[in-house]
Amino acid sequence: MDYTLKELMTICAAREIKNNDIVFCGTGISMLAAMAAKNINAPDSVIFFETGAIDSRLEDIPLAVADPRIMYHTSANGGLMEAFCTMQNPLSGTRIVGILGAAQIDLYGNLNSTVIGEYDAPDVRFSGSGGACDVASFVSRSIIFMKMEKRKFKKKLDYLTSPGFLDGPGGREKAGLPPGGPDKVITDMGVMGFDEHTRKMFLIGCFPGITPDQILDNMEFEIRTDRAVEIAVPTQTELTLLREKCDPHGLIL
């Protein structure tokens, strides 16, 4: 079957979303993954934006979380306060799955989306947290999109923008954060999870044609690969729904 890497990644993420999950969406592929889940495997998941829209119809794919397309046919149009309170409130927050991206990730799933280099004199400046730190702080699990590159899978982040498991087991608790943390990392070579005891990243599976060693070669730190299996490729149904229902004009794909 013919599919692009982006399609495969999107569908891998979509499969992680369960019916009745509330899905926090960022821009781009994360939004597409949420739309894919809703159209493919989790029709009763609820798409939710930090800008204050909940259960948007999304007839057309938005290009930002403030795109007017997300304001159409929602359950309620609020603002940032309502959205972040819904995340921080454990009654609703624990039902939310966040989808995030970042510039760097470490062994415990902490993310950097702020700077490369010194904070005061950065080599590269990125957008900054936006709502990412809030989502990562509050919600019970998150799915992270990353490109496999040594400079992205870092032993030590240049800046810790969004908390994963911080320094490992009990790290979030010690810092005062609610439970939660990263659940999956979807890369362009495979999918990682986090060990429930050590909180360390491990390889869940490789994409077709990719070996665990190739993945390790693109990381600065080591992860366990002994549990790795091959990831199931997208089905024809998945691909059709993704292409026709979610992004017919190829704005993200």
Binding site: T27, L80, V124, G130, S137, L160
Partner: protein, 325 residues
């Protein structure tokens, strides 16, 4: 009409009166939506300098203010506009070249800071950012903060929960209130007194508006009567907070204004292209801002066809068939 009713003015006058060199400014909107762009362009045109800007994710407007050379200090959560600029380009350049100083917060924290200002309380608590560098790394060092009495003495404060584990909470982060000298927002409808109606998401506009010492409102439709009072459930900002009301159709252009028009993808892509190159950016500034005495001139330059192409489908609130490739 009572004195405080006389709030309707021209954009030039409102900016001249309320946005001064070195003042603390916040603008409404979010990334590519409902930024008060006409006001932003007027600020650049008037060559206002040394602004201290507060933003959560006010993408396009903040990037243009920085690109226009108006900003010295920026407190921000996110510098981007989504797909068109995943990181705002003039912002990125200014930070990397250290021509502006930045203090980073999260979106929730910036929202809480505006809310605290609007509430008249010195700080608000959150559990966000515990364990992260948002707490550890400060863009405005303590000594710098000491020198500036308009900046709080601390970026934020981590504190134990005095209610002893209440709500399963051991620690919280306190973030300090923001009270800008002036907030500028763009809304769908306002009346001559300054009552405002925002359609679609309000982002943090209401908090930003109420936190500010002065509030300048630009609007698509200006009502010279009490029409908005016939459906007050839809109004978010009562006139007691307003200082200036300016009618500026397409005042958020090239960002979107729900129910009125979409963002202009063509403009925003061209902007991003120009922003990557200093010479091209100077040409952009000249052509679209300095050569346009008013926002109407900018719209004329863009041309009627482009403007018509983004007009919103009144049912959906955006331009269903807009080519966004």
């Amino acid at each position: 009409m009572k004195p405080e009713d006389n709030k309707v003015m021209r954009l030039q006058d409102a900016v001249e009166k309320y946005v001064t060199d070195g003042c603390h400014l916040s603008i409404g909107g979010f990334t590519l939506n409902r930024n008060p762009m006409a006001a932003v362009y007027e600020i650049i045109r008037q060559k206002i300098k040394d602004l201290h800007v507060y933003a959560h994710s006010n993408g396009q407007g903040v990037d243009e203010l920085i690109g226009g050379g108006c900003v010295s200090r920026l407190e921000i959560a996110y510098g981007g506009t989504g797909k068109f600029m995943s990181t705002c380009i003039r912002f990125k350049k200014a930070v990397q070249e250290q021509t502006i100083i930045v203090e980073d917060y999260s979106n929730f924290q910036m929202t809480l800071r505006f809310l605290a200002g609007a509430m008249g309380i010195a700080f608000l608590p959150t559990r966000s950012s515990l364990g992260t560098d948002i707490i550890n790394k400060w863009g405005f060092p303590k000594a710098f903060r000491k020198q500036h009495d308009r900046i709080p003495n601390q970026k934020l404060v981590v504190m134990d929960n005095p209610f002893d584990g209440w709500c399963d909470t051991k620690k919280v982060v306190l973030v300090p209130a923001i009270t800008p000298d002036v907030t500028i927002i763009h809304v769908q409808m306002a009346d001559f007194r300054g009552n405002c109606r925002i359609e679609g998401l309000t982002f943090a506009d209401v908090e930003q508006a109420k936190a500010a010492k002065r509030l300048v409102i630009t609007c698509e439709e200006l009502l010279d009567d009490d029409y908005l009072k016939t459906d007050p459930d839809r109004n978010q900002i009562p006139f007691i907070h307003a200082d200036a009301v300016v009618k500026v159709p397409f005042g958020a252009y090239p960002t979107a204004c729900f129910k009125y028009y979409d963002y202009d993808a063509t403009y925003m892509k061209a902007y991003a292209r120009a922003a990557k190159n200093d010479d091209a950016y100077q040409q952009y500034l000249a052509a679209y801002i300095f050569d346009c005495p008013t926002h109407t001139h900018l719209l004329d330059k863009v041309g009627r066809r482009r403007v018509e192409s983004i007009l919103a489908d009144r049912n959906r609130g955006y331009a269903k068939h807009l080519d966004r490739k």
